[in-house]
């Protein structure tokens, strides 16, 4: 029982620190482009947006110095931490760091501090792209290059900005997948 309490307390402390962990990681990765992605793990638009970033930004620019911070939290009916493992697989690229934000601290923070067009108190289904020199101080990180919500609705803004900074994609065509061997 004591162990369970300790584990829960540890988990809660970890949850409270998602925003500060994100901030620390953001500053540590200075020198690379940084993309913050705020998403629900089951909302079809969010899941579609995350998959689209994997296909059209990360796969097409395999050598681009970019760090993606995917912050997942419950926004959609039925969302739960159990969905987090599957959600992470949508963006398996090595440049992506995933967090589960039980208290939605990051979504709340972005809603209050950074541009938003969402009603309510929490930003979600959104992305924010920052330049390589951006530093996250007490205020919002400077050098916001572009942002969008919903991810899919504003997806072209993101790829246009990446292309402006990095040139045309190095992998020009999208990769289709073969059926698993059992199906073929």
């Amino acid at each position: 029982m004591a162990l369970m309490v300790m584990a829960t307390a540890g988990a809660l402390r970890a949850q409270e620190s998602v925003l500060s962990e994100l901030k620390a990681q953001f500053n540590k990765d200075k020198g690379a482009l940084r993309l913050v992605v705020l998403v629900s793990p089951t909302c079809p638009e969010c899941v579609g947006g995350a998959g689209w970033i994997q296909d059209y930004v990360l796969k097409r620019y395999p050598n681009l110095p970019i760090k993606v911070y995917a912050i997942w939290y419950e926004m959609y009916p039925g969302d739960s931490p159990d969905d987090f493992p599957a959600a992470q697989k949508l963006m398996p690229d090595r440049r992506v760091t995933h967090w589960w934000d039980q208290k939605k601290t990051v979504g709340r923070w972005f809603h209050n501090v950074v541009p938003t067009n969402v009603k309510g108190e929490i930003q979600w289904d959104a992305y924010y792209l920052y330049g390589e020199n951006a530093t996250w101080t007490e205020q919002q990180p400077a050098s916001l290059l572009t942002w969008g919500r919903t991810i899919l609705k504003d997806r072209k803004k993101l790829t246009d900005k990446v292309a402006e900074l990095a040139g045309p994609p190095t992998v020009p065509v999208i990769e289709l997948r073969a059926p698993s061997s059992g199906q073929q």
């Binding site: 296909d55 059209y56 899919l152 289709l176 059926p179």
Partner: protein, 289 residues
Amino acid sequence: MVSLRSARSRKWDRRGIVLAVLLAVFAGSLGRAEETEIRWFKDLAEASAAAQKANQPMMIDFWANWCGPCKVMDAEVYNVPELVSSFGEKMVGVRIHFDLQPEMVRKYNVPALPYLVFTDSLGTELMHHRGLIEAEDLTAVVKAFPADISEINRLDRILQEDKNHFASLRKMGQKLRAIGFYESSNGYYGRALKQNEAKKDSNVREGLLYEMALNSIELMDGKTAATHLEKCLKDFPKSERRTDMLLNLGRAYALDEKKDKAKKSFTSVISDFPQSPAAAQARELLKTL
């Protein structure tokens, strides 16, 4: 009389030709007008019958009313004229509602929406894509298909009777490689490699392994390509392809970010076969490392 009848006949012939041309132009404009959107079948069996009749591939689009990205596909992808035109020429489309045909969802192992499955005319999956795909990419996929896939259908029919039919597995791998479906091609080559025909004939085995390596390079999978090529060089040291194998091994290592090994492979090509075209390529590739 004969000449008069002939003259009248020619006059009517000309009128007939003019009328036929006008009708053709009218029908053509009607045809173009109809092609502002993709024609979708709702039933796979009906679509397959149409596809088999025309020897065309099918694209199965799994969708649902609640799927936001599916709505984006409708609004921004499926109405792009170049796609609609290519699709109409090359492909039979089927839309399957995710909630209403669960047996289809199971059959094609659909994990999420939108989900596109490209099949031969019989409905055997060749490739798939999960998630939103932009119109230009989908158009490129559609255009990559040959106008007539009767050979792929023929091979599939044989494989449905005998899933281990070596010649068909190898030929299917070649066909899919030719249209750029490298991962799927490797699936068939891999199955062919397990058959006795490949085990008994080293030339055949070498050819299959080498093409699998080339497919992996196309897929930017340097690690797998290097594994295949290392095996080729070890198992077939006297191969006529040795120069190309070494050159492509260098490429594979470079893709896998193993620069020292890549340099070593390219250097071997240059020193062992200095006058070969491969050596010229190796010199260029060395500069990129």
